[in-house]
Point group: C2
Chain length 252, copies 2
Amino acid sequence: MKKDRIEAIAELLDKRGKLTLTQLDDFFPDVSQMTLRRDLLQLEQAGRIIRVRGGAMSVKEVQKVSSEPYAKKTAMHTDAKIKIAQKAAGLIEENCSLFIDGGTTAMYLAKEMRDIDIHVFTNGLAVAIELAQKKNLDVTMLGGQVMKDNLSTASPVARSYFENTNFELAIISASAFTPENGFSCGSMIEADLLKMARKKSKSMYMMLDSSKIGKIMPHTFARLDDIDVLITDDDFPADLKESFAKRNIIVM
Amino acid sequence: MKKDRIEAIAELLDKRGKLTLTQLDDFFPDVSQMTLRRDLLQLEQAGRIIRVRGGAMSVKEVQKVSSEPYAKKTAMHTDAKIKIAQKAAGLIEENCSLFIDGGTTAMYLAKEMRDIDIHVFTNGLAVAIELAQKKNLDVTMLGGQVMKDNLSTASPVARSYFENTNFELAIISASAFTPENGFSCGSMIEADLLKMARKKSKSMYMMLDSSKIGKIMPHTFARLDDIDVLITDDDFPADLKESFAKRNIIVM
DNA sequence: AACTTTGTGTTATAATTTTACATGAAATTT
DNA sequence: AAATTTCATGTAAAATTATAACACAAAGTT
């Protein structure tokens, strides 16, 4: 059905921000590129997307463009991150209380999450805005000084927020990982926040795309034993997978 | 000069919204299309424009196209709001500490603010993101439950943030105003937050576009005497202006 | 049943963009 | 001051992408 397909394209674009025709073609293998082009033309005329050379982008994405440093980061390893986010989204159950960090992977997770009755805490501005779109979901933003490079907040004050909150689950992404140094990130106050989140939640899922393996950032916020589930992509090394499994950590 | 030309292109695009390469070539006959292409590429990487097939368009133009729920609100009385925001931005001095609320007018204020050394507190997600773009400026986001309709936070917990902070100036916009009921808004916790902001700051400037005069919202957060400066548009009624002046409130 | 409309695919053609290389001017180093 | 590097620019070929034109079939309409 044409209408459904156009709707699906619009949604896809909202999620992914930007798509090439080739990528679109992969999603809709049963129609020709020409048809997809015509769909894009219609969407453009409806003001919902903007056609750019090679494909199209969502209007929402364009608004984000103004935040250049963040947008740049967003563009990296997109596919892997989305896949990881999808896996993570599938693990979230209704009626739970949840912490999500403010990274770009978390941002994709926010996009992929179903609009169900959950309460989410986050320190990511972009994550909060994304989640605010969903009607049934409740969002609480953690305050603090805004870090310009990744649009998330962190500050010693933010800790006070945690004092009276508890969540069943924290889903967090790391900037770097080695077996020796654990999961690390670049900012001390962020590391502090994430440690705190770990303490306050019953269990912790870690999202880690394989490009981050072997990298070390200054501040470790979690070690292997701290996490319950590791969500990663297909390129995750088999030997590492084993050492996780040995510690009863589910790798998926 | 390359820099000047790029600047000129950016301005042109902001004015005309969209231009084809051929049109651009007419404006700049002394350089080749290839050079113009490269200029556009740079502008795109800087996040100022979007290249589309045939030429480019300004980001601002794209934003006009969109009509999401939040964007819809943003689009109302845009011109008046921008003018008010510009006036307000002119009043902000370097090296000060400032509170801005999370409304749409505040959002425009954030856009208009110069990139100088200031510390800004805000409860607006969109405001915080906008301000995060500026290098010299420091932003602190007030946490709390996210209100989906206006993308700002408010919660009793947010009060605790204020306890150890002080600012010279609070620039706030109201959803409604009558002389009898003062400045009011729709949410009780938001009203509470704004009251708190008023207490904590040395002075308070109110942004009020004239469309809001005569309207009443459930929760009053400030009365006439609470404010020091009223920033409004040209349609502001003369008689009201007088009654402000009587109380030594500057109307501009 | 004949006719239109609509959605689609195919191919050829056109337009646009990118790439690669060349040039000269300006800035920097030696 | 000469040599070298860097930078902005131009040119033209190559690659990519978009449009146009036509064909065809299915679903409505008259």
